[in-house]
Symmetry: C2
Subunit: 297 residues, 2 copies
């Protein structure tokens, strides 16, 4: 059996894993995101310790990182975190660090693209060539697979910062995105819900008006993604999406907003399949990084 | 010299061309869009006449069509117009018709994707691997090239039907999209401008408030396309985009809305290059269909 190392690197923690696939997970660890010189060596130590403890050799490493990151293999800064607001991580060489310290092939992408790759390989989008993974938590991000391959464009998508209709008479909250105020992230993220209603998302009851707003905004975003990318499936991950009943509202409102214009049989007649929670649940990110690792092993 | 036949097929007219490239155009004709049994044979007659008159043989045919169309080569209805509101064209076999009547290789895509391919090959996006072509005229449509290839997803993009912020206190017009009212097309198309202001776009002076609204909506759409696809270039075609000064307003507002979040050097420092009018001008569609034809010759 081949083993791979995976890292889901977020703003507060690095979730690290050694696995072959979702049914064969050897070890997992959570390392706090502090500074590159502290956090990155701890990841290497974890991978080396697991190799030693289990007498295995990793075949490759997959990294799903917070961004923005440089994904152009021909660029001088390929494999770097670039202009992130987390200043100590700005312009940090990630891929070179792991190549030099692990002497293994390294796959690198955004955290949300890793999750999309994992959901496409093992999760709720198995067999789909065109899929989108969206996470709604502290922030909002999205990864796109088109024709079986991660879509990067010149940099990579930043879907969380899409602009959507915001009816101030219904929702006077200004939005909390530091760059755009009421972009998608500024209206639907966990912190925006807490700021708007004075309590965290998970403490709001199912009949709270928060969920009508949240599903309304999310369905605008999904409609926009559907008319832009024509995906076969959309996976909704992240803490906020765990609220019971929320995805059902989002499904219904997405269909209602598109109003029959997009004649996609599966979207219209099998919306529960088209719009889903992650099949890999809380491991969408870490197992996604293992799925990335497979592609370079 | 190799010659190709191209068709830009729209709801009111089929623009047909025989050319090698933008510098070598042998013949052009405009055929009204009536019914398939009338319009399609006229296209074949034109191509055959040009071949006879000039003693040439076409190498292939490129078709850029109004949609929705079926682009999945494995689908039973590949090469068909599918659920179009133009009833006489619904479920019409386009590629089979040209294959059977011209006995030539046929390339098929949406009209806007053809224009995107042409702009990437010969026009204002030469050398770009990631580009988007948007047309704003009777309707609004968009074609996307990612990694050098037309992006289709499961069906194809319908970018004109994206939802964007609509401030009713500033613009009480409800929008005229039959499916979505105030989606992008419902707010910025030529007919929506005429319906809102009571006179056609081309008769409104440069300082008319119409252009502040138009550039505002278009810049929301461009910002959304930039955060979604991370393109290298966006080309703005169609009749409405010819209004003097409009593209300058759109550029400035797009940069302002993104507010520095997308650290794309060319977007920020060279916006006049990033957001452009079609280099092929009114032939973006027809020469785009020639560019499609090249890919199958």
């Amino acid at each position: 059996m081949k083993w791979y190392g995976g890292v889901e690197a977020g703003g507060t923690k690095f979730n690290c894993i050694v696995a072959s696939d979702p049914d064969h997970i050897l070890a997992e660890i959570r390392i706090p995101t502090t500074t590159p010189t502290s956090t990155l060596p701890q990841v290497v130590t974890f991978f080396n310790q697991v190799q030693q403890d289990h007498s295995i050799s990793l075949a490759s490493i997959g990294l799903g990182f917070f961004g923005p990151i440089s994904l152009d293999p021909s660029a001088k800064d390929y494999g770097f975190i670039t202009s992130t607001p987390k200043l100590s991580w700005r312009d940090t060489a990630i891929v070179p660090f792991f190549e030099q310290n692990m002497h293994l092939p390294v796959a690198f992408d955004t955290d949300v693209t890793a999750a999309a790759v994992g959901e496409g390989l093992w999760g709720a989008a198995r067999g789909c060539k065109h899929l989108i993974y969206i996470t709604v938590g502290t922030g909002v991000g999205g990864g796109v697979i088109n024709d079986g391959k991660p879509l990067h464009g010149q940099i990579h998508p930043e879907i969380g910062h899409m602009f959507i209709p915001h009816d101030f008479s219904k929702d006077p909250y200004a939005g909390n995105c530091p760059s755009h105020k009421d972009c998608l992230e500024g209206l639907v993220s966990g912190p925006s819900i807490k700021a708007r209603w004075g309590q965290p998302a998970e403490s709001l009851p199912a009949d709270h008006p928060a969920w009508d707003l949240e599903s309304d905004y999310m369905s605008y975003a999904l409609a926009n993604l559907i008319v832009s990318f024509s995906p076969q499936r959309i996976i909704l991950g992240g803490g906020v999406m765990k609220i019971p009943g929320l995805i059902e509202h989002i499904r219904a409102k997405t269909i209602s907003k598109l109003n029959g214009y997009i004649q996609n049989e599966n979207l219209i007649h099998n919306t529960e399949e088209f719009i889903q929670l992650p099949g890999l649940a809380d491991r969408a990110g870490t197992l996604g990084s293992i799925a990335l690792a497979l592609s370079v092993a």
